[in-house]
Amino acid sequence: MVAMSDTPLFFDEMHQGGGDPRAPYAGYDGWFRSEDLRDLRKKSADAERFFRRTGITFNVYGQAEADERLIPFDLVPRIISGREWSRLTRGIEQRVRAINAFLHDIYHRQEILRAGRVPVELIAKNDAFLPQMIGMAPPGGVYTHIVGVDLVRTGEDEFYVLEDNARTPSGVSYMLENRETMLQMFPELFTRIKVQPVQDYPVNLHRSLAASAPRDCSPYCTVAVLTPGIHNSAYFEHAFLADQMGVELVEGHDIRIIGGKVQMRTTQGYKPIDVLYRRVDDDFLDPLNFRPDSLLGVPGVMDVYRAGGITIANAPGTGIADDKAIYSYMPDIVEFYTGEKAILQNVPTWRCSEADALAYVLDHLSELVVKEVHGSGGYGMLVGPAASKKELAAFRAKLTAKPANYIAQPTLALSTVPILTQAGLAPRHVDLRPFVLVSPDKITITPGGLTRVALKKGSLVVNSSQGGGTKDTWVLEE
C-alpha cells in the first residue's frame, strides 16, 4: 500500500486518491500486489548485473574514478494509455514538422524574421546559427532526422514540452535496453498486458536515414555512424546503434574525402559513405569549416555536403531550433508554419533578455527554475525552491551580469511514478523523451520513449549526470 496524503501536491500517474490504480496501471497494479517485495528487490539487483554485463554504461566527464557508470534502472514501468499517446503523437508530429520548416526558412528566405514573429538578433547572435548552411538544401529537405521532444506532465491531460532536442538527442539505447531487460525479467507481464513494441526503432532509423540519402547515392546506400570515440560519454549508444542497424561505426580518422565523396578506410581500400549519422557536434564536424583544432571530425566534409555528395544527420546548424530562447517562441513558430494552434503546450517562459521579465525573475528567484539558454544536461541550472540562500545569491549575480544568457520558468509540479525502494513503492518525479524519426516522406514516433526519473525524494532534476535514473516506458495497445 502506498500512503497518500489527502491533497496530493503532484499528479501521481499510478495511483489516484485512496491508493486505487488509475486505468492504465490497473493490470500492472494487480500483478504487483501478488508479487513478493523481496523477490522484486532481487530482480532489481539482477537487472543491474545484466546492465553491467551488457556494458550499458556511460562515461562521466571529470570523474576519473568512476570512468564507467551505470544509469540506475527502476523496474516499475511508466505506463501511458493508447489514447493519451495518440494525442501526444499528433502534437509531437506537428511540432517536429514546424521545427523542420523553421530551419529551412531560417537558412533560406527568413520569412518568420521578416514577419517579425521571431526577433532577428535571436538568430544573428546565435552561436548555433551556421552561415555555411545558408541557401543549402539538405538531401530530401530534412534537417532534423532524429529529434527528442522532452515532455513533462502535471495533470491528467496536462503535458508540456520542456525542451526540444534537435541536434543529437541521446538516450534511445536506454529505451531499447530497458525494454529488453523488462522482457527478460518479467516475460509473464508482457503476456498479461499488451504493450506497444519499441524494438523496431533501429530498423526504422536505418530506413529513415537511407530514405534521406543524396540523389547520386551508391546502389546499396551506405549509412555509417560517426562517433567522437571510445572516451565519449555516449560511446556505448553509438556502438549500440551502429550494431543494431548493421552499419559501420567510424571515427574521423577512418574517413577521407576522395573524388568528391566521403570515404571510409576498409580492409579493401576506401569505400564511399552516403549517409553519415554523426554523433559529433557541429563545432567539431569539420576542422576546415569549423573549429580548426578538432581532431574528431572530417576535414572537408562540409564541402562534400554542400555539393550534395552526402547526407549529414542531423544537418549542421539545427541547434538554433533547440536553443532555449527560441523555445519560448515555439508556439508562434508552430502556428506560423502549420497554420494551426500548437497542440502541445510550452512551459511559460521568461526571457531574461527582456527588462520586465528580468525584473520579475529577480523578484521571484526562489520560486523559479532558471536555465542557461545554451545549456544542457542539467548543468548550470538553478532550481529556486531547492536552492540555499547562498546559491540564490550566487546565481543572482550571474543572472544580473549576463541576463540574455538565461530564461526562467515556473517550478512545474512534475508528475510522479512510483519507484521500488527498500520500503516498497515511493513516488518520484519523471519526464519523458519520445524519439522521433523524420524522413522525406514520413515521421515515425516510437511508442513511449525514455522516462527519466529523479531517484532522490522530492528532487525535480532527472538528468542522469545529476543522479537520475530511467524506467521502461509502456504505451498500451488501444
Binding site: R53, E248, R265, T266
Partner: protein
C-alpha cells in the same frame, strides 16, 4: 569492414591469447617451484624472459622473488603482458569493435574483464593461486566458446583467428627461445632429474604435458619435445599448427576479397619451411638460429598484415 575494426579484432584476440598464455606460464613456474627442493627462484627469471618482460620486472623490483614475480605477471598494470593488462586491453579493443562481434562474445569478454578485475583487485596468495589460474582458463574458454558458437565465418572471424594464432606462434617460439639450451643434445643427459624438470616446464607452459606422453608413449627426449612443439600439426600450440591456421585464414581473406597481398607471400614462405623442414635438420643448422629467425618472421608477418589490411591510416 573498416581497417580499424580489423585491427581491433586482431588485437583483441592477440590479447585474449596472451592473457591465457601468461596464466599458463605462471602455472608452469609455480608447479616447478613446488616440486623443486633447492628453492631458488631461477625459474621465475625464465618465465619473465619468455613473456619478454624481464627487463621491466628488474627495473621495478631489482631482484627475483617468487611472490613478486607472480604478482607482476598476474596483476601489474605496468606489465603489458600481465593477465590483468592483457584482459583490459582485450576488453578495450572489444569495445572498439563492438559492432563486429556478437552480443555473446562481447558479454563473455566484458564478463571476463569484470570477474578478473575483481579477483585480481588484491594480491593473490599462493593458496588461492591454483583456483585463480583455473578461473582465468575457464573465462578464456568461455570467450572462445561464444566466438565459435555465434560468429559468422567471414572476414571478421578471419581477423580474430589471425590475432589468436600469431600470438600463439610467437608465444610457443618464445618458450623454445628461452629454454632451447635444455633441449640441446650436448648439454642434456637423458634421465637427469634437472632436465626432466626443465622439459616438464616446457610442456606445461603449452598445456602439452599429457598430449606429449600420449603421443610418444612415455618416451621423453629433447629432440622429441622440440619436434612436437615445432612440427607436430596435431598439437594446437605448435609452430606448424599455428602457422597452418594463419595460412588458412589468410587464404580465406584472399578468396573473399579477391586480392593477394605481400602477407600471402610471406606466409607461404613460412608454411613451406615448416612443411619441408625436419627436426634433424633444425638441430644441424642450430635450434637457436631457427627460433630466432622464426620469431623475426612472425613479427614481420604481423606488420605486413597490418599494412595490407589497412589497420592504421
Amino acid at each position: 569492414m573498416l581497417g580499424k575494426t580489423a585491427g581491433g579484432l586482431f588485437w583483441m584476440f592477440r590479447y585474449l591469447e596472451r592473457s591465457e598464455n601468461t596464466a599458463r606460464l605462471i602455472e608452469a613456474g609455480f608447479r616447478i617451484a613446488l616440486t623443486r627442493a633447492d628453492g631458488d627462484d631461477d625459474e621465475w627469471t625464465s618465465v619473465l624472459q619468455t613473456a619478454a618482460v624481464a627487463h621491466l620486472y628488474f627495473e621495478k623490483h631489482g631482484q627475483i622473488e617468487a611472490a613478486r614475480a607472480i604478482d607482476f605477471m598476474l596483476r601489474d598494470m605496468s606489465n603489458p603482458s600481465s593477465v590483468l593488462s592483457a584482459i583490459s586491453a582485450a576488453r578495450q579493443n572489444a569495445r572498439l569493435v563492438r559492432t563486429a562481434i556478437t552480443r555473446e562474445v562481447w558479454e563473455a569478454v566484458n564478463d571476463t574483464y569484470m570477474v578478473l578485475k575483481q579477483t585480481l583487485a588484491r594480491p593473490v596468495s599462493a593458496r588461492d593461486l591454483p583456483e585463480v589460474l583455473a578461473l582465468i582458463r575457464q573465462q578464456s574458454a568461455l570467450v572462445r566458446g561464444a566466438m565459435h558458437g555465434t560468429m559468422l565465418r567471414n572476414d571478421i572471424f578471419d581477423f580474430c583467428r589471425l590475432g589468436t594464432f600469431l600470438e600463439r606462434a610467437d608465444n610457443t617460439a618464445r618458450i623454445l627461445d628461452v629454454k632451447y639450451y635444455v633441449l640441446l643434445p650436448s648439454i642434456s643427459q637423458i634421465g637427469s632429474s634437472l632436465d626432466n624438470v626443465q622439459w616438464e616446464t616446457i610442456l606445461r607452459s603449452v598445456a602439452g604435458m599429457r598430449a606429449y606422453r600420449w603421443i610418444t608413449q612415455g618416451e621423453t627426449s629433447p629432440i622429441g619435445i622440440a619436434d612436437f612443439l615445432i612440427f607436430d600439426t596435431r598439437m594446437p600450440r605448435s609452430l606448424a599448427f599455428s602457422v597452418g591456421k594463419i595460412a588458412t585464414n589468410l587464404a580465406y581473406l584472399e578468396q573473399a576479397y579477391g586480392t593477394r597481398h605481400p602477407c600471402h607471400e610471406a606466409i607461404d614462405g613460412l608454411s613451406a619451411r615448416l612443411r619441408h623442414g625436419t627436426i634433424d635438420r633444425v638441430f644441424e643448422d642450430g635450434l637457436h638460429e631457427f627460433i630466432t629467425d622464426f620469431l623475426s618472421d612472425v613479427a614481420k608477418l604481423g606488420h605486413q598484415i597490418e599494412t595490407d589490411y589497412r589497420f592504421l591510416g
